[in-house]
Amino acid sequence: MNLKPATLSQIDEVITHYPTKRSATLPLLHLIQEEVGFISNEAIEWVAAKLGLQPINVYEVVTFYPMFRQKPIGRRHIKVCRTLSCALLGGYKTCATFEQEFHTHAGEVSPDGEVTVEFVECLASCGTAPVVMIDDELHEKVDAAKAKQLSDQIKAEAQARK
């Protein structure tokens, strides 16, 4: 594992928060996913060795929580809410728009590697449904038109980087 020194020092610090080392499994996995983007088998084994566990113990945790990814995702993570309010106000249509714009399917990395579109459960902004989170940024009232606009913005930024 090639983690940044900052992440490593955060990891060492967070372990001290708990009376037993194994309790730090979740925070360690979060820190690693934040830096690397996903949890590889190498990461699982590294965490296990760090906390004095067996890899299977960490593997059980990683497979339990949907928020831990075992495969890399696109450069941007588009999370479309599909819980009740958003579903009623067109969340599925929003998701379909993103899928079309980036020629991809929910849960997959787009062919250009730019985005991963995914359905998620409630993002806690039911009053402004349907909502979408792109990485850490919340976008409200995202209908098909606004989804198109957001997609164009992402594509433009991608173009600018080239």
């Binding site: 299977i56 059980e60 339990f64």
Partner: protein
């Protein structure tokens, strides 16, 4: 003798019956002591309690006391102390006996609970009992009959999970049959200390698996198959070979090391199909090593000796014994006897008799390997201590017969009787073997049987009765599971005839009569007969041999005496 600690007893009331049980006993075990069965899956007496199957739900209550005065509250209707029943069911496995505990296992609520749990367990369980190896010894099958509803209300689709995952070289997993009791996971963690199993994707699709790239391949992996309450884990060796209800069970002893794990040999029509552990809380709990389960394959091995041979040509037992008697006469004074730590106590007793009659020195060959600290000890002979008890040897054997080799070179030994020991493997050269006449009693062909003047085929542990003395000086008996192959004779018969030829007087070979002779001649075994030896063995007083430097290190229920001595001493 140190008196065993007396556990504090408490009285509990189970289904109206008062029974005394040690304090802290869990309710499943307490009920078992009272002859009441509480069904369970995840609970295992030798593993930690997790309480995840919920099958052992019971009703529980405690005698009522006034909260303020702590005075007992009496029930005017019965004149007895009132019982406060907890309105919700409790799990028996995680409830410990305390004084006055009341348990009900036969109420409508408990029946409802059991039916409900059974219904949930069967939702995703394939009903493939007709092709399942566990059928006949499956707890799910038994408890569906005993406690299930009898019909299904489930009309939805069942989950689909992996059907044939090879967890390791000896264990096959069917995830659809798994009821997620986690016994195998706890066994791997707590007993085998090889934590490779776990549940992934917890939820509706919980799946038992090994960590990617790892295997369940430790030498205790087959115990997970034994404790699996359903057919999820099956043995690749036994899978699809035989229905368990056709098999005859015979109690036996594992011969791979001096631990002497108690076993059951499962056979049908003279063929052995598998070996499983038999519970003995003082020796092997409910476990045994995988390596010991394969030993039955020696019975029908290619190199099994089944023909009496004299000077390399086929002969009869009578002629061969006569030839041996002639050798005894012609080489009187120049004979050596090599006994075996693999022989039973009875055989070693007769070997000693033979050696005494021939005035021959008796040797033994030691086999020392690496102990695994669980159920395979460093001493790979099952019965070296039997040879000490019967007086065949007085000090511990070595792995090389160098004294015998020197005597052969010097020409003082001209005939060697070997009871199942390969003299070439014990350090004798081909030249030395050629210089002497070997009388070989054994089960399998080797360099010694090839060089022997007289070859007398004998029996494996599965084909005879006898006893071994394990590392704790515990006498344990094994029984005949399958008949002997044609051409092989019971070791006791052969040894008795050889001893008779050497001494000129008849010697008993039938095990009952032989034990009278053993009890008379060996003070340590004075009170024993073969018939009255308990299933769990009989512990002998080990003090006469306490000073000997035995090879064994610590195992599951054994501490070497050197370790015991240092324990009491300050460091």
């Amino acid at each position: 003798m140190i008196a065993p600690a007396k556990p504090e007893l408490v009285t509990v009331n189970i289904d109206g019956k008062e029974i005394s049980v040690p304090k802290g006993t869990n309710v499943i075990e307490a009920a078992r002591l009272g002859g009441i069965d509480i069904p369970h899956y995840c609970y295992h007496p030798k593993l930690t309690v997790v309480g995840n199957c919920r099958m052992c739900l019971i009703e529980m209550g405690m005698p009522a006391v006034d909260p303020a005065t702590k005075a007992p509250v009496m029930d005017p209707a019965t004149g007895k102390q009132k019982i406060n029943w907890i309105p919700r069911p409790q799990i028996g496995c995680a409830t410990n006996a305390s004084a006055g505990l009341h348990i009900r296992t036969q109420t409508p609520q408990v029946k409802d609970c059991r039916e409900g749990v059974m219904e949930f367990l069967l939702i995703n369980h394939p009903l493939d009992c007709p092709i399942c190896d566990q059928a006949g010894e499956c707890k799910l099958q038994e408890q569906s009959t005993g406690y299930g509803r009898g019909y299904s209300r489930f009309i939805e689709q069942k989950n689909v999970k992996p059907k044939r995952t090879l967890l390791g070289p000896r264990v096959m997993l069917d995830d659809e049959r798994c009821i997620l009791c986690s016994r195998c996971i706890r066994f791997s963690q707590e007993i085998a200390k090889d934590d490779v199993l776990g549940f992934i994707d917890r939820g509706s699709y919980s799946t038992l698996t090994c960590y990617p790239g790892k295997k369940l391949e430790n030498n205790y992996s087959l115990n997970t198959v034994d404790i699996c309450p359903v057919g999820a884990l099956t043995s690749t060796d036994f899978r699809f070979k035989m229905r368990v209800w056709f098999l005859k069970q015979t109690n036996s002893i594992d011969t791979e090391s001096s631990v002497g794990a108690n076993t059951v040999v499962w056979s049908r029509e003279g063929v052995i199909y598998r070996i499983t552990p038999r519970r003995n809380d003082d020796v092997n709990d409910t476990w045994m090593a995988d390596s010991g389960r394969e030993l039955y394959k020696a019975v029908a091995a290619e190199d099994r000796l089944t023909a009496v041979k004299l000077n390399g040509a086929a002969s009869t037992l009578e002629l061969a014994l006569a030839a041996a008697a002639d050798l005894f006469k012609s080489n009187a004074g120049g004979i050596a006897v090599v006994g075996s730590g693999r022989s039973s106590v009875e055989e070693q007793f007769l070997t000693k008799k033979l050696a005494t009659a021939l005035k021959a020195p008796a040797y033994l060959v030691s086999r020392v390997g690496q102990g695994d600290k669980i159920l395979v000890s460093a001493d790979r002979n099952p019965n070296v201590r039997g040879a000490l008890v019967t007086g065949l040897i007085v000090s511990l054997p070595s792995s090389q017969l160098s004294a015998l080799a020197a005597a052969i070179d010097a020409g003082t030994v001209k005939t060697v009787v070997s009871v199942g020991e390969d003299l070439a493997a014990a350090g004798l050269t081909a030249g030395q073997l050629a210089k002497v006449s070997v009388i070989y009693l054994g089960t399998h062909a080797n360099a010694t049987s090839a060089a022997a003047r007289v070859v007398l085929p004998t029996l494996t542990v599965f084909e005879k009765n006898g006893t071994f003395v394990n590392q704790q000086f515990r006498v344990q008996k094994f029984l005949k599971a399958v008949p002997a192959p044609a051409g092989a004779t019971d070791d006791l018969v052969v040894l008795a005839k050889l001893a008779a030829a050497a001494s000129g007087t008849a010697v008993a070979s039938e095990i009952g009569a032989l034990w009278s002779a053993i009890a008379a001649a060996v003070p340590a075994l004075g009170t024993m007969t073969f018939a009255n030896l308990p299933e769990t063995g009989l512990l002998l007083d080990a003090t006469p041999w306490a000073a000997l430097p035995f090879a064994e290190g610590e195992t599951l229920h054994y501490k070497p005496s050197s370790a015991k001595a240092t324990e009491g001493r300050p460091a």
